[in-house]
């Protein structure tokens, strides 16, 4: 939070307070073209309060961006053609309290209006009790203020854009870093699968030795009320543009395998605790973020033409 306040003070022209929850602000930083038709890259972190590394990676990217804006003409050229928005901490109360959920015990990534089908038991979202993790909130209740703030930001900034990529930073699952694409609630292919496949191929070609497994979220487990499923469907229904929501799930089990003692701490299961490993993680994902920025700015060069006869999307 201190690092965020420092960045907000350094770039008051770029920062916007989206909401305030229990007196804690949710900041978004905005750089680049202000044209409504400009493509947009959105980077978010800290949806789950325990996954501090996601927020730290977003802040590392933000700091790098601000530093480069002082001298990097190539970056200025890219930002003349697109817009970058960084929302490093979606759930400030959860992070302050050291818990996954927000202040009301709701898992923000299971808080969108839920589809009737899908959802692995418990982990995929439940309405049993806010004392258990993965709680979706009361049936029929409005979205939590943090989730609503994120939805508003996406609607305001990304829905008007002809093309947008959103990268949400998480940790806590698996031994490898995964890049997940929709859907989370079903294994059925999204309608934009050709564009997602093209992005995956572009990543393979551009960063040949990258570490990411590019796969669908639901291949691992299905989630009800996933915010990105909800926003993806809303964007598809609105028409006139493409939104490719991605989730970077950092493989935190590797950190636990290398330092088994950290499994005893709740933060240790989700974050690298050793200083050298922490620094390595902060620099590890900067090439990916840089790649996504350039892919967003240059999207007409690699996105496939829309097909009328493609695989059927989920209903």
């Amino acid at each position: 939070m201190v690092a965020l306040e420092r960045l907000a003070a350094a770039r008051p022209d770029a920062v916007r307070e989206l909401a305030r929850v229990e007196a804690m602000p949710i900041y978004a930083f905005r750089f680049g073209s202000g044209a409504p038709g400009a493509p947009v890259l959105l980077v978010t972190g800290g949806v789950h309060g325990l996954e501090r590394i996601g927020t730290e990676v977003a802040i590392a990217f933000l700091s790098s961006l601000i530093a480069r804006l002082g001298w990097d003409r190539v970056l200025h050229d890219a930002l003349a053609r697109c817009r970058v928005i960084v929302l490093p901490l979606v759930n400030p109360v959860g992070m302050a309290r050291g818990q996954r959920a927000n202040g009301n015990g709701v898992d923000l990534m299971r808080n969108a209006p839920a589809h009737e089908l899908g959802g692995t038991p418990l982990v995929g979202g439940h309405r049993i009790s806010p004392r258990l993790p993965w709680y979706m909130g009361r049936p029929g209740a409005p979205m939590e203020p943090e989730a609503a703030a994120l939805v508003r930001l996406v609607e305001d900034e990304l829905f008007a854009a002809p093309f947008a990529i959103a990268l949400d930073l998480h940790s806590g699952f698996g031994f490898v870093d995964r890049l997940w694409y929709p859907y989370a609630r079903t294994r059925e292919p999204p309608a934009d699968l050709p564009a997602l496949a093209a992005l995956g191929q572009l990543l393979d070609d551009t960063l040949p030795n990258h570490v990411y497994h590019f796969e669908q979220t639901a291949q691992t487990y299905t989630i009800r009320g996933d915010l990105w499923d909800y926003l993806y469907d809303r964007r598809r229904a609105a028409g006139g543009g493409v939104l490719l929501p991605l989730t970077l799930e950092m493989g935190s089990w590797t950190w636990v395998r290398k330092n088994p003692a950290q499994i005893l701490s709740s933060l240790g299961r989700f974050n690298p605790l050793k200083p050298h490993r922490h620094r390595r993680t902060l620099r590890r994902h900067l090439p990916l973020l840089d790649f996504l920025l350039h892919a967003t700015a240059s999207h007409p060069a690699w996105t496939p033409a829309p097909r009328s006869d493609g695989p059927r999307g989920a209903t």
Binding site: L117, G118, T120, G124, T186, E188, P189, Q219, Y221, R312
Partner: protein, 149 residues
């Protein structure tokens, strides 16, 4: 692959009310069947293309399928309850293992409950499933090709 199919079977049994045995609404069971079949195909990377519009009213649909995957493609194309008794025993067992809800009452009762019924025998609206390079193309019959039920 086996782990993913097992995960799907768990999702089907615990997360979908329509997949639970008992007297649940036929429409909910049919939607659950479509979801499970579509997920089973997607897990195996099989693509599905659909031609034609589904019948406006609950109907008996007849599928001529050469494989279990083709039956799954038919189920994934439209919410239906499968008349498992019309399928070969191996396919029936596989559908049960996946957790696909089957017809649990006489077909007329399911139809009056709002769900269409899929069968491999008898007469009804024809539903053709053709193999393609990466998956299946399901063609829902136009009204003039519809046979009387």
């Amino acid at each position: 692959m086996i782990a993913r199919l097992a995960g799907l079977a768990i999702d089907a049994r615990f997360a979908i009310p329509g997949a639970m045995p008992g007297a649940l609404e036929p429409v909910a069971r049919a939607r659950a069947a479509r979801w499970i079949a579509a997920n089973a195909l997607a897990t195996r990377g099989i693509q599905l293309a659909i031609e034609g519009a589904p019948p406006s009213e609950p109907s008996i649909l007849v599928v001529r399928a050469a494989s279990l995957a083709a039956v799954l493609a038919a189920i994934a194309s439209i919410p239906v309850l499968v008349d498992a008794a019309s399928l070969p025993c191996r396919w029936r067992l596989a559908l049960r293992a996946l957790g696909v809800p089957a017809l649990d009452r006489p077909a007329p009762a399911a139809l009056s409950g709002g769900a269409s019924v899929l069968t491999a025998a008898g007469r009804g609206c024809e539903l053709a499933v053709d193999r393609e390079l990466h998956g299946f193309r399901v063609r829902l019959a136009s009204p003039e090709r519809t046979l009387p039920a």
